[in-house]
């Protein structure tokens, strides 16, 4: 057998591939944990002065005694829960306040960038900060300054973030490339550049570079009280700017052309909005990390949109969602110091987003589905009523044993079934629904209108036929005006047009005009004749539309 060795080899290959994948997974996990513990290490090595001592180390004495090789994530004890949740430590309080303010401000700013359709600009911006952070660290190192001075690092981040945004604008302005391409290029190139520089820093043997990774994934554990205060201050500024310029930014996002015609400088307004995004992204780097910062800007705003159709409510909801996410992220980071806080914050946001997407009262999936089903049901009801009406209309009067003729009052399923592409069960279901609304009564396979049902069917059929007639007689202008969902045809069309259509109705000498499907225009005549090719009783009803004034 030749096949056997082949199968063996294939199996071997599979095994190898499986190992590789699993191995990769382990490696990734390890590197993540290594980054986390190296952050701890950096904190441990006394880079911070006493006031800035990382929160976690204060609350969790356990963390200090941990060895680097110990990579278990231990569950926090009851006392730890208590200390964090009751915010017994000054530092915890400040850090939670900082991330809460950050989430709140990011929610507000995010609403505007979302509505301005510039949401991804924030992503490019935060990724573009990495080379700046690395460069700031290197220069500080070379000059012998305190390398991890946060304001200095953030200054570097701001500078390179702005260079990134400028590069996007330049690519868009000077070349034929579109914005998404420019965003992609700048985002990846700047980030790659930053990662390369981080590699260089690792080689520099200064030993204190490790904490820089917390800028990538976020780590409130490496945040001191003064850092948290900086975040809170920046978030406050951004929020206040957005609230003060609420109406100007709203106008900018909705209709920039009109804003310009009103004398608002569109470019300046865009710059102000961009500045708040820069501010929030930069101070958020430490808490959320530059990769995930965009989530805090987009997700609460997007989630808020599902709940409301009012802008200030959207802002408020986004702010609250961001705030809660910030708090949860900070608390989780304090309880599980090895989990990146950025991920915690983002996962909380994501949970809110999913809940909003499904249950949002404004345009959530559930609400929309219910609305669609209701509409479907309405359409089916309308079809049924019209089908029954038309079936009754077309069937001959029945003759009683006494020789009187009486209009028939019932129709059977078999009469209506061929009128539409519905199956018998579907028809049965429609009839049940109509019966529940007391429009129709059903006896066996026979359907019969109630009084209300008859009136409703008459109205529906009349409107339907008038609309069809209108489409035929005014084909040139009709498509933009036909509105089947309008309550009454009179609400949409001018009275004289309705009167003209009514004229045809009167000419047919019946309450509801014949269906105009079979209209034959006589080319030899100047007038358009609507010949009734339908059945029986209204056959004489030729319609002369020029007869109306």
């Amino acid at each position: 057998m030749i096949v056997w060795p082949l199968i063996c080899r294939f199996l071997l290959l599979l095994k190898w591939a499986g190992c590789t994948i699993v191995g990769c997974g382990f490696a990734l996990a390890e590197s993540g944990l290594a980054a986390a513990s190296s952050g701890l290490q950096a904190a441990d090595s006394g880079l911070f002065n006493a006031g800035q001592l990382p929160v976690v180390l204060k609350i969790l004495p356990l963390a200090q005694s941990e060895s680097i090789t110990d990579r278990r994530i231990s569950l926090p004890s009851w006392e730890q829960w208590q200390r964090v949740l009751l915010m017994q430590d000054y530092n915890t309080r400040v850090v939670i306040l900082g991330t809460a303010m950050l989430g709140c401000a990011a929610g507000v700013v995010g609403c505007f960038t979302l509505l301005r359709k510039r949401a991804l600009m924030g992503d490019a911006l935060s990724h573009a900060t990495l080379p700046g952070i690395a460069l700031a660290f290197m220069t500080a190192n070379a000059m012998g300054w305190q390398e991890r001075s946060l304001p200095w690092l953030l200054l570097g981040a701001t500078a390179s973030g702005l260079v990134g945004v400028a590069a996007i604008l330049a690519i868009r302005r000077l070349t034929h490339l579109k914005e998404d391409t420019a965003l992609g290029i700048v985002l990846s190139v700047f980030f790659g550049c930053g990662i390369a520089m981080m590699g260089v820093i690792q080689q520099m043997q200064t030993g204190h570079a490790a904490g820089l990774e917390s800028f990538i994934l976020g780590k409130t554990a490496s945040m001191g009280a003064s850092d948290a205060k900086l975040i809170a201050a920046a978030a406050l500024i951004a929020t206040v700017v957005c609230v003060l310029l609420f109406k100007e930014l709203k106008l900018l996002c909705f209709d920039e052309g009109f804003a310009g015609s009103q004398g608002f400088n569109v470019l300046s307004l865009d710059l102000v909005l961009m500045a708040t995004v820069v501010l929030i992204s930069i101070v958020g780097l430490q808490a959320v990390g530059l990769i995930l910062m965009i989530a805090l800007l987009i997700v609460p705003a997007a989630a808020a949109r599902f709940w409301t159709e009012k802008m200030w409510e959207m802002l408020l909801i986004a702010a609250v969602l961001g705030l809660i996410s910030g708090i949860v992220g900070a608390v989780a980071s304090a309880l599980f110091p090895r989990l990146p806080s950025g991920a915690m914050i983002v996962l909380t946001c994501a949970a809110f987003f999913i809940i909003s997407m499904v249950f949002g009262t404004g345009s959530g999936v559930l609400v929309r589905t219910v609305r669609r089903l209701r509409l479907n049901r309405k359409v089916v009801r309308r079809h049924l009523l019209r089908a029954v009406f038309e079936a009754l209309e077309s069937q001959p009067n029945k003759t009683t044993p006494k020789g009187e003729t009486k209009p028939k009052r019932t129709v059977s399923f078999n009469q209506i079934l061929p009128m539409r592409s519905w199956s018998k069960p579907q028809l049965q279901r429609a009839a049940e629904l109509a019966a529940r609304e007391e429009l129709i009564t059903q006896v066996g396979e026979k359907l019969r209108f109630t009084r209300r049902g008859r009136l409703e069917a008459e109205r529906l059929t009349r409107e339907h036929r008038l609309w069809e007639l209108y489409l035929i007689t005014h084909a040139d202008i009709a498509p933009s005006r036909v509105d089947r969902e309008a309550d009454r045809i009179e609400h949409v069309l001018e009275p004289d047009v309705v009167a003209e259509l009514e004229e045809m109705l009167i000419n047919t000498r019946q309450l509801v005009p014949e269906s105009p499907h079979l209209i034959q225009a006589n080319p030899s005549s100047a007038n358009q004749n609507v010949a009734d090719a339908g059945s029986g009783d209204a056959g004489s009803g030729d319609i002369d539309r020029e007869a109306s004034p």
Binding site: K247, F254, G263, T308, E494
Partner: protein, 263 residues
């Protein structure tokens, strides 16, 4: 054709001299020159891509001009901005925006309200009045995506009305609206004319030009002709504007005849 040196030009609601606008080195409109009489209803007509919207936008400094000068009531647009109301194209904005009709109308007052100050009840009352003038006061609280095309157009018109301007620039206010809205808009335009206000309206339906407007600008990248409808809106001029699409011209001459009869 245009007489920029006459004394009427200095007080004309809108005078444009030698205007050229270019996108990416390609001129979109060139050598446009006209001024319009005060208190008139001006139709701007021309084929698609003739630069009608560009003309309005360039007049309001919304897009850069390559050359030329615009004067609004004898001053620059910047100086007289408060006397100009603008109705942009309905398709130009995202109607899924989280605001209601009243909010949109109130936006017409933002310039007056000024930076950083909130919208006050008096502003909302003014906006409500404008909404009832266009006949949709009962829809004030409705989210704009739930308005029909005609109602959206009325909202835009109300936003311009609330500005209480003297010159209105409207970009296709009749595009894809229902008959009732078209009628309402025409009535409002006539009311404004009676109040001595001037409207410059981009229009597509040649048949209704003689009924709606008393002054017309025929535009196809350059001004083919401008002047009172009776003088300028002729088959020859339309031929120069649209090329030899004769069926169209027949319709127009019919419309002109109808107008003559009704006068």
């Amino acid at each position: 054709m245009a007489t920029p040196e006459t004394e009427t030009a200095s007080t004309s609601p809108l005078s444009i001299y030698d205007l050229t606008v270019a996108y990416h080195r390609k001129p979109v409109i060139w050598d446009v020159e006209f001024d319009i009489p005060a208190g008139s209803l001006v139709g701007v007509v021309g084929p698609n891509g003739a630069g009608k919207s560009t003309l309005l936008k360039a007049a309001m400094d919304l897009i850069p001009r390559a050359s030329g000068r615009v004067s609004v009531f004898g001053k620059t647009y910047r100086q007289n901005r408060h006397r100009v109301g603008y109705v942009p194209q309905r398709e130009g904005v995202d109607w899924d925006f989280p605001v209601n009709a009243l909010d949109v109308v109130t936006m017409g007052l933002y310039g007056k309200i000024g930076w950083c100050s909130p919208v006050r009840p008096s502003h909302r009352r003014a906006a409500m009045e404008a909404l009832s003038r266009v006949g949709i006061a009962e829809l004030a609280k409705r989210q704009i995506s739930q308005l029909s095309g005609g109602q959206q157009q009325r909202t835009f018109l109300a936003r311009a009305l609330v500005q209480d301007a003297d010159l209105y620039l409207m970009d296709e206010p009749f595009a894809a609206v229902d008959a009732a809205t078209e009628k309402a808009v025409v009535e409002i335009l006539r009311d404004m004319k009676d109040d001595g206000k001037t409207s410059v309206v981009i229009h597509h339906d040649l048949q209704t030009v003689p009924d709606y407007f008393d002054y017309v600008i025929l535009l196809n990248m350059r001004v083919v002709a401008h002047g009172p409808v009776a003088d300028v809106f002729t088959p020859e001029n339309l031929n120069k504007t649209y090329g030899g699409r004769l069926t169209l011209l027949d319709e127009v001459s019919n419309a002109m005849r109808r107008r003559d009869r009704s006068l």
